[in-house]
Amino acid sequence: MKDNNPLSPHIQIYNWHISSLVSICHRITGIINIAIITLICFWVALLLLGNSNYELIQNFFGTFFGKFIIIGTVWSFSFQILSEIRHLFWDLGLGFELKTSNITGLIVIFGSFILTIFIFILGKGFVL
């Protein structure tokens, strides 16, 4: 094949399906979660250096941007957990029919938001 033959369009033209959307979100939230866990480790390590650091971070989480980060993190973890459960069923060979996978995909998407709200309400009693 000559090199000047063009490559046909792919991601530019291909429709999104529920399953492909959940799949890419699973990856993105996975990467976010690793970053977040690392940050939490740093936060804990900072506490060893005294309580002024604690206040600094506490103040940051009190801001609008800080709250956005917290809720985003909770959503990211919620999504990852639900999607991972879906993957576990797949590993057992279950849920591959198109209809089933579409329904479980929707459950992951909407469930992640419901779980976020649930965790947020639950956490509000303890933290803020």
Binding site: N5, P6, L7, S8, P9, Y14, H87, G93, F96, L98
Partner: protein
């Protein structure tokens, strides 16, 4: 490698506009990917106005009509015209399928027709499937059986035979493989859904004696495990098969053997 953007020579440009000459009231716009290997220009999208009053129901009929009545230079593969040969696989309305079984009435708005995604284009809607055929060859898709006496039937129980249902129907049209993002980024190493479904078809056949060797051959980080269950393959399959499930079955066999 993941490369989201198309290379410079593959950027799609605006092409020609073919106005309707029949004076029909029932017109639809059809946008078709064109590339001419003879003039060194970039691919383009040509738009055709088609008289739908005198057009049969499938996308392939629409293409035939354009080729016969408007622009004879357009190139595409087709043969049987009823979903058996798999020649007319292409991307219609953002989804892979067979032009001969896809009704154009299902498509809303303008009808966009592209070649199968992420292939080297040979001309217009014709993509180069040689890599896929080589990969198909690599899974040795034929019966391996040491029995010498070929004068008798090779019997199979009803139960064993039913394991091939949903696998033997595959017509190798490549709709699934070219819909898979993993195959787009790693098409040279990852076997892709079509070939893996075929591999599984021989692994699960009770008459085949080389199941272990076949499994061992396919058990590879790149050949098999690039499948992340994106399920575009199952969504695309015009025969209603489930390559994602076949791939998962191979993974499961490897995990439990």
């Amino acid at each position: 490698m993941v490369q989201i953007n198309l290379p410079q020579n593959s950027k799609v440009e605006k092409g020609e506009y073919y106005k309707d000459k029949t004076g029909s009231k029932n017109i639809r716009k059809v946008n078709i990917y064109r590339w001419d290997p003879s003039n060194g220009k970039n691919p383009r999208i040509d738009t055709y106005e088609v008289d739908m009053d005198n057009c049969p129901s499938k996308v392939l009929d629409l293409l035939n009509k354009i080729k016969n009545e408007i622009d004879p230079s357009i190139a595409y593969r087709r043969s049987c015209a009823h979903g058996v040969c798999g020649s007319c696989a292409m991307n219609m309305d953002g989804k892979n399928g067979l032009a001969c079984t896809k009704p154009h009435a299902e498509i809303k708005g303008e009808i966009n027709i592209y070649p199968l995604p992420h292939l080297k284009v040979q001309k217009d809607l014709i993509g180069d499937l040689n890599t896929l055929y080589k990969q198909y060859h690599s899974v040795e898709p034929w019966l391996k059986n040491s029995k010498k006496n070929n004068d008798k039937e090779n019997l199979q129980s009803i139960e064993d035979r039913s394991k091939l249902d949903g696998l033997y129907e595959c017509i190798m049209c490549a709709c699934c493989s070219t819909s898979c993002p993993s195959y787009w980024w790693n098409g040279d190493k990852y076997l892709g859904p079509a070939v893996l479904l075929q591999a599984y078809r021989w692994i699960i056949d009770s008459r085949d004696e080389e199941r272990k060797e076949r499994l061992k051959k396919v058990a590879d980080e790149l050949k098999l495990y690039r499948c992340h269950t994106i399920m575009n393959c199952t969504n695309a399959c015009p025969k209603g098969l489930n390559p994602a499930k076949a791939i998962a079955s191979i993974k499961k066999m490897l995990a439990t053997s």
